[in-house]
């Protein structure tokens, strides 16, 4: 094999690698009975009942300031906080749901992606998408702690507990992890149950999407009866004038969609949502990976070819001893 052939082969390999189209998969579809939540930022009053309930249900300690237990001081998702309410504030920040000089609340928790990046990148399947409910679950027994899930999550949700020498990943599992199993027992998530205004609404992804679209279609100012708790069988309603919604349901399409969807009166980039295309990064990554490593065919062919070439060249150099010989055998002398 001369250099030309090698370069040709390399270029061929590169072409396969670049095309990506042949083996690329589309975004995953939502799980058949996907459950999720709808967070309506305009309904959120910032009471943090969901944060409190989440800690109670998941048995997590409050985040302390300077070690003093006066208040749960969670500022962001962390190994002790699977759900947190954050504040968008501009200027004076005294008008709710207003971009300029206003403020708005935003819930941060696992979005339970339809095509989860964390599941796609985890080398040891410690993160799995439940085949029926679509809940993204974590399995500590498999985890090696490489934190690729954190890098592969568009929302930076999985958090590793660095302060524990035997730490693990923490993320919201929709209150359905072993020992809690609220969904399996017919209950709803803690945060949706605690929410006093229905800002966090539990339900099937389909029903929630319908509800979100219904709200989008409302005329601002009209009163609407906002369901609270479970969208399928609301415990009560919250009557309120419709705000001026952004016509954008976060999670309907972003990176393949999410089971936890957000709607708001403030653009989502202000609320810290990432710039995501509709195509999931997981699908692109897997497409490239499966193009190159489908049944290990390409590597196997390459190995056979390389073995042949190497052996031929070794023989030609009469290599009797080790990886030997500096007697150049061809072309220009040294």
């Amino acid at each position: 094999m001369n250099r030309r052939d090698f370069l040709k082969a390399a270029a061929g390999g590169a072409a396969v690698a670049c095309s990506g189209g042949a083996q690329a998969r589309d975004n995953l579809e939502p799980a058949p009975e996907a459950v999720g939540m709808l967070f309506d930022s305009t309904l959120c009053v910032g009471c943090k009942a969901c944060v409190s309930m989440c800690k109670e249900v998941n048995g997590m300690p409050p985040t302390l300031i300077e070690g003093k237990e006066a208040w749960d001081w969670a500022t962001d998702l962390s190994p002790q906080t699977l759900n947190v309410i954050k504040l968008y504030k501009d200027g004076e920040g005294n008008v709710k749901d207003q971009v300029k000089d206003g403020f708005a609340f935003e819930k941060r928790s696992c979005m339970h992606c339809v095509d989860p990046g964390c599941v796609s990148v985890c080398p040891v399947t410690a993160l799995r998408r439940h085949p029926v409910t679509g809940i993204v679950t974590f399995h500590v027994d498999a985890c090696i702690g490489c934190r690729t899930c954190t890098t592969g999550c568009p929302y930076n949700v999985p958090h590793f507990d660095y302060d524990d020498p035997f730490g693990q990943i923490y993320k919201c599992e929709m209150c359905n992890q072993e020992g809690v199993s609220r969904i399996d027992n017919g209950q709803i998530t803690g945060c949706a149950e605690a929410c006093p205004t229905g800002a966090t609404l539990f339900g099937s992804r389909v029903a929630l999407l319908e509800e979100a679209k219904r709200r989008m279609a409302l005329k601002p100012g009209d009163t609407y009866n906002y369901p609270m708790g479970d969208v399928r069988k609301p415990g009560s309603y919250h009557e309120k004038a419709t705000p001026v919604y952004e016509k954008h349901i976060w999670g309907e399409k972003e990176a393949g969609g999410t089971n936890v969807m957000h709607i708001s009166a403030v653009p989502f980039d202000k609320l810290g949502m990432p710039p995501l295309p509709e195509r999931s990064y997981a699908s692109i990554s897997e497409g490239v990976q499966h193009t190159l490593y489908s049944f290990m065919a390409l590597p196997a062919v390459a190995l056979i070819g390389l073995s042949y070439v190497v052996r031929k060249n070794l023989d030609a150099s009469e290599g009797e001893t080790d990886v030997s010989d500096d007697e150049g055998k061809e072309e220009e002398k040294s």
């Binding site: 009053v45 943090k48 009942a49 409190s52 500022t75 954050k86 504040l87 609340f105 935003e106």
Partner: protein, 374 residues
């Protein structure tokens, strides 16, 4: 400082100097004024011999504000107020009745033009020229306009007088409105509440008497000292709200434990009043609606009290304290470079570059040497 002559006051009111100063200090504190202001008030009350004339009108109402004021404090308070000011006209308190008192009112207004204080209690119906409320064959509308004409200051006491109160709730057949609505161009100090807190009224009057001016007012002409902050901001149950602990129904565990009443329809988060700070009836111990377990219904707030359903959720008007929420870009930790770390990196890169430069020089020398060898 010799101070005012309290002996006259002690005789007139039958209170000790000490009790009187205590009262004035309390009033000053209600407004957030320093002790020196309390002393000024005491001086104003004790020395001013010419008592200001007060005309007190009643429109559509239940006399709640007067009741509240009357039984507000220690037994000496009402006496103090009645002695301190010259209450020339008050339909429920006047001993006389009929044309006599009406005539007296007119005379007093005439004699004290520009000096008397007008207090309005109750709403003013304006439908059909105000025929729904008549006193002495004159409508409330006429009474109010006439009395306001030459008043030094006008105080609307109670929600009815401030913005219409319960009468103004839909469908409002009498078209009841507050005093301000029928007195365009006049400054009406609104002290809403159902009933209003007597101290807010007393403090305003004291301020007027002492300083000759009205206290700072908000956009709805309510004294800022009393209506500047949300009930939600000073509520003793606020920590439960922030921690997400709510009473779900009356009498449940959360309710009994004193948790937040927001889910029961408490309007504290959209009602501006100092109820949690001043409370009612001077018996302490959290004696005010939320303190005793009933959700605030927003009596002082136009568009809330008598308007919003009792058990509907309130709009939360504020997010204070402002540092209780992490902002969108706030993270658990955000490490930055330190001198040590930057130094190590600089040293590592510097070592690589330096070694390369040195090696390069030697390679060059070597090359030259071997070149000359050949």
């Amino acid at each position: 400082m010799s101070g005012p002559d309290f002996s006259y006051l002690e005789k007139r009111l039958g209170v000790s100097r000490r009790t009187f100063l205590k009262f004035c200090t309390g009033v000053a504190a209600t407004m957030g004024l320093p002790t020196s202001a309390a002393y000024a008030m005491a001086e104003a009350v004790a020395t001013k011999r010419k008592k200001p004339v007060v005309i007190w009108l009643h429109g559509q109402e239940c006399t709640g504000p007067s009741e509240s004021l009357l039984r507000s404090e220690h037994p000496t308070l009402d006496r103090l107020i009645l002695e301190m000011i010259s209450l020339e006209y008050h339909q429920t308190l006047d001993a006389g009745a009929g044309h006599d008192v009406e005539h007296h009112k007119d005379v007093m207004i005439e004699q004290n033009k520009g000096e008397y204080l007008l207090v309005v209690e109750g709403s003013v119906p304006v439908a059909q020229d105000g025929i729904f409320c008549k006193i002495g064959n004159k409508t409330m509308l006429e009474h109010t306009t006439a009395a306001a004409e030459h008043a030094a200051a006008i105080i609307a006491f109670g929600s009815c007088a401030s913005w219409g109160g319960v009468q103004s709730a839909a469908p409002n057949p009498t078209q009841a409105v507050g005093a301000q609505a029928v007195l365009p161009g006049k400054t009406v100090v609104n002290i809403p509440g159902c009933p209003p807190n007597p101290y807010n009224f007393l403090a305003t009057v004291m301020h007027f008497l002492t300083f000759g001016s009205l206290p700072a007012l908000d956009t709805q002409n309510r004294p800022k000292f009393a209506y500047g902050r949300l009930i939600h901001e000073n509520c003793e149950r606020r920590p439960h709200f922030d921690a997400g602990r709510f009473a779900e129904t009356f009498g449940d565990e959360g309710h009994r434990l004193g948790w937040c009443l927001y889910k029961l329809g408490c309007k504290g988060p959209e009602t501006y009043a100092n109820c949690p700070a001043v409370e009612f009836n001077d018996i302490g111990g959290g004696t005010w609606p939320i303190g005793v377990g009933h959700p605030c219904f927003g009596c002082v707030e136009q568009g809330v009290g008598f308007t919003k359903p009792l058990f509907s959720l309130a709009e939360v008007k504020t997010h204070t304290p402002p540092n209780a929420f992490p902002t969108i870009d706030q993270r658990e930790e955000s490490p930055t470079a330190t001198a040590a770390t930057a130094g190590v990196i600089g040293a590592a890169v510097g070592a690589a570059v330096g070694a390369t430069a040195m090696a390069a020089r030697k390679v060059h020398e070597n090359d030259n040497a071997s070149g000359s060898n050949q």
